[in-house]
């Protein structure tokens, strides 16, 4: 074979300047094209479904609200149909969409580093001039931003789709299954799930176990969040008896954290009164009337700690905020593993 020669060696010996960060844009795109195309494609396809189904739902809801008189048989049928047909779609969609962050974490996040470790290509990637920590930081940041942005955009489509159900199906904006599909929270959950996925990929070094761990941990975290959400430090306390306590809930209902009663002069209500109230709330025939009666009878004050509807966006930002902090910490741990785990 003929012999190819290299041009003369450039001057050596000085400390090399680093390979520019922007080079990782092409690298990330080329290596994760499948993820970067399929995540928007799948969410885009679901969006098209939501748009088509949403148009019908919005139309049905408009017809229903325009129906007069509301007590007529025609309106009753419309109402029943909406609650039966449209709400079945809406309810199913809102439940299934909770899988989106988990699936992004498992299928887009977990393989990013686990595949390199499984196939041995990390021996190539981590010995290039770019440096392995910078390589990991650049790649994870770009992918995280991409999936988070796509998830946020998708959430806006869902928000529009779901609008009619809030007043019609007694859903509060704070209903757990609805709250975490709204834009800031949903973006936060997607980001956190992705970060958890890449972390387990690096920790376990195998794609399938990493996917399983991601799904498990994400599920645990999401369920735990349902319990702690009411305790975000955004609650106010009121003695206004018209707020809180008894359902049904509606779109403008606040998220009630707790309710308690004090007797005359601010003393705590007696134990017997508390148990009476408790039995009314649990099995009373007409709870609101009975409650009003017992409050008047014992000169009680009803205190409610609640999160007003006006604090919906602060609540969203708070949830998005802690999820962002969590994701950054988990990614930092991942980069630490990339740097320190012996290959």
């Amino acid at each position: 074979m003929t012999v190819l020669t290299l041009p003369a060696q450039p001057h050596q010996g000085t400390m090399p300047r680093q390979v520019p960060w922007r080079r990782m844009a092409w690298v990330t795109w080329r290596q994760h094209r499948a993820t970067l195309i399929s995540v928007p494609a799948v969410l885009g396809a679901i969006s098209v479904f939501l748009l088509i189904a949403g148009l019908k739902i919005h139309h049905d809801y408009a017809t229903l609200t325009a129906c007069h008189p509301a007590s007529s048989n025609t309106c009753g049928t419309l109402n029943t149909n909406f609650n039966r047909v449209d709400w079945t779609i809406g309810n199913t969609v809102s439940i299934l969409l909770h899988l989106v962050p988990a699936l992004i974490g498992a299928f887009a996040g977990a393989p990013v580093l686990a595949r390199e470790l499984e196939t041995g290509t990390f021996r190539y990637a981590w010995t290039q001039g770019f440096g392995r920590e910078r390589w990991a930081i650049a790649k994870l940041t770009l992918l995280a931003i991409a999936v988070t942005a796509v998830a946020a955009a998708f959430s806006l489509v869902f928000t529009w789709f779901f609008q009619p159900f809030l007043p019609q199906e007694d859903q509060s904006v704070y209903t757990n299954t609805v709250f975490d599909l709204r834009v800031v929270s949903f973006a936060g959950w997607t980001l956190a799930a992705f970060a958890i996925g890449v972390f387990f990929g690096m920790l376990l070094r195998r794609i399938v176990p990493a996917m399983a761990a991601t799904l498990g941990v994400y599920l645990g975290l999401a369920l735990a969040a349902w319990g702690v959400r009411a305790h975000y430090p955004l609650a106010v306390v009121t003695s206004n008896p018209s707020i809180g306590g008894i359902g049904p809930f509606s779109v403008n209902d606040p998220l009630v954290v707790s309710t308690w009663y004090t007797g005359p002069g601010g003393k705590p209500a007696s134990q017997s009164v508390v148990s009476q109230i408790s039995s009314i709330l649990h099995n009373g025939q007409n709870p609101r009337a009975s409650l009003t009666q017992i409050i008047a009878q014992h000169d009680l004050t009803q205190w409610t700690r609640y999160i007003p509807v006006s604090r919906f966006w602060p609540m969203q930002l708070f949830e998005g905020g802690w999820l962002l902090v969590l994701a950054v910490l988990v990614m930092a741990a991942t980069v630490w593993l990339v740097r320190h785990r012996a290959a």
């Binding site: 041009p7 300047r17 190539y124 001039g129």
Partner: protein, 304 residues
């Protein structure tokens, strides 16, 4: 300048030493062969020099004192790991572009010309290339980075004899033209005998012998004499003793070519293969020093 320098270097996995107390100084400008059976610690040593693996004990520096894995080290070293890992779903052309993006220097022209020469189409997926072509692709990517040190871990294992020759010719050309130093590992010495001018023999996680090939050949000889007596040779440093019929063959280390031959013995120069095998078979440092045991010669993987 030493391209690789280790001092008491060790790596243990679950309390078992893969490499232990390894002290080496490989000078630049050589094609150094790292030879030893499978599991000798060759890959462990190379991974640590490439900055992939963190040592358990001791230290390793490269390119004249740079810590392994530091930016300067990564910039100046090209490492082709065992089985030449490439992204199987990327085309050869994409692998070129990828490597160019991940490094300060990359000779795109050289890389393209070389792949054309090898008949590797740029559009073909790396995973669809033959084992030999994948190895050549990985070598091309490494050389196009203009490294000062090229580390190749068992690059010949997957290649047929013709591809081995082509591969080594490429490496030799780069050495001659560009002054790149090379460290190449193999469990088959035969492939490297003609090309290596520096030898490190590794076995059981320890360095058995290392040095320039010419120096090693000059400082060892085979003595042939009557078996069983051991007369006049007690003072010699015997690496290995073999017995064939009534004759004993001793491979001894001497202080120089002027060393006198003991009376009754005949001296022969040693071949690189004999020397390597002798050190691989010699009792390890764990055994107490004593009179050399006489063994029967048998062919091993090393000899094949």
């Amino acid at each position: 300048m030493n391209v690789i320098e280790t001092n008491g270097l060790g790596k243990s996995y679950r309390h078992i030493w893969a490499l232990h107390e390894c002290t080496l100084a490989i000078p630049g400008g050589h094609l150094a062969a790292l030879v030893g059976p499978n599991g000798a610690g060759k890959s462990t040593l190379m991974n640590m020099a490439a900055g992939l693996t963190v040592p358990t004990a001791g230290a390793v520096t490269v390119l004249g004192g740079q810590p392994a894995g530091s930016p300067a080290a990564l910039d100046g070293i090209a490492f082709v790991a065992q089985d030449s890992p490439v992204y199987k779903n990327l085309s050869a052309g994409d692998m070129l572009h990828l490597t160019r993006n991940l490094n300060r220097r990359f000779e795109q022209r050289y890389a393209q010309d070389r792949l054309a020469e090898l008949g590797i189409p740029l559009k073909k997926k790396a995973g669809k290339l033959s084992g030999g072509q994948q190895a050549q692709l990985a070598l091309t990517l490494a050389l196009a980075r203009r490294p000062r040190l090229l580390i190749l871990d068992e690059p010949l294992a997957a290649l047929d004899p013709l591809a081995r020759q082509d591969f080594l010719a490429t490496v030799m050309t780069a050495m001659a033209d560009d002054g790149v130093s090379v460290l190449l590992s193999s469990h088959a010495l035969a492939d490297l005998e003609r090309v290596a001018d520096y030898l490190v023999v590794l076995s059981g996680g320890a360095v058995r012998v290392d040095g320039e090939v010419d120096d090693l050949l000059a400082s060892h000889r085979v003595l042939t004499g009557p078996a069983g007596t051991g007369q006049h040779v007690e003072h010699l440093s015997v690496v290995q003793a073999k017995r064939a019929g009534a004759q004993a063959h001793l491979l001894v280390r001497i202080s120089g070519p002027a060393d006198p031959v003991p009376p009754g013995w005949e001296a022969h120069p040693v071949s690189l293969e004999e020397l390597t095998l002798a050190y691989l078979r010699a009792p390890g440092s764990t055994e107490p020093p004593g009179p050399p045991s006489v063994q029967n010669a048998e062919p091993t993987e090393m000899a094949r």
